[in-house]
Symmetry: C2
Subunit: 141 residues, 2 copies
Amino acid sequence: MSNSVGPRLRLLRNSLQARSISTSEPFGLPTGSLTVMSLIAANPGSSQVQLAEWAGITGPGLVGIIDDLEQRGLVKRERSPTDRRKNLLVLTDEGELKMETLFGEVSEIEAPIRNELGPQDFQRFMEMVDRAVAALDRQKS
Amino acid sequence: MSNSVGPRLRLLRNSLQARSISTSEPFGLPTGSLTVMSLIAANPGSSQVQLAEWAGITGPGLVGIIDDLEQRGLVKRERSPTDRRKNLLVLTDEGELKMETLFGEVSEIEAPIRNELGPQDFQRFMEMVDRAVAALDRQKS
DNA sequence: TATTGTTATACTCTATAACTATA
DNA sequence: TATAGTTATAGAGTATAACAATA
């Protein structure tokens, strides 16, 4: 079609989300939930501002996601003993299990893409997206 | 981070849109406007259902975009003489000019990505997105 | 005074259902 | 009856401003 990535990106994201995903829709969780869960798993005890920064979500946006996850018993908010303004976030055991399930679901939804590109180009594709994001972020600062 | 494209895609789209783009934000036009304009340019006299299909936009969504473009004198709706239910859409001369300007703006906004990947990989990247979309669409039907 | 998390709010994008006018 | 365009409506996602608690 045209020579820019914007329109393509919308088509791809629409298709994925129509398949009920960007991250974790299949279980009725808000978009970004799985991203946040995996960040917590990799960095237990993170604060919400840290997570928001990493996930590319605004503060208020993250509050809603954490509310949802906590209500389902997948994540726990613990007040930091050293700085009582902060929440230290951790996954519950149930959260760890659910996260694995969600990754499976997402992987299945994205299977057509993986099959189309092949495992090697699929990996390259994701690396390219990461590099594109990094390049834009570098520009911003 | 994780092994799926969904979260990455959100980061990339957010970054682009923060730079005031998905397609044509810089002039206050709704998202998808430039996509629609380029489709009309390539297929003058298209109907709205055709355009919605091609652009991955819903019928009602397209109405708003066309309303906006028509109000600015960039696009004209003409009643089809053979089937008076249909609108035949065409770009005005001013629309053609504006489209070129918008392409320039978008290209500038996406320049960091092009520079990061290099022209060849940038092209490959866009092809991969297209293939991914096609693969998902194939699955759907 | 600055920061963390929160609430309130608004705007955009997307989706669905129902209406009209044509066929 | 089916289709093209439209209107009305609702639901996500994202963003900003303002507030309370803490530093």
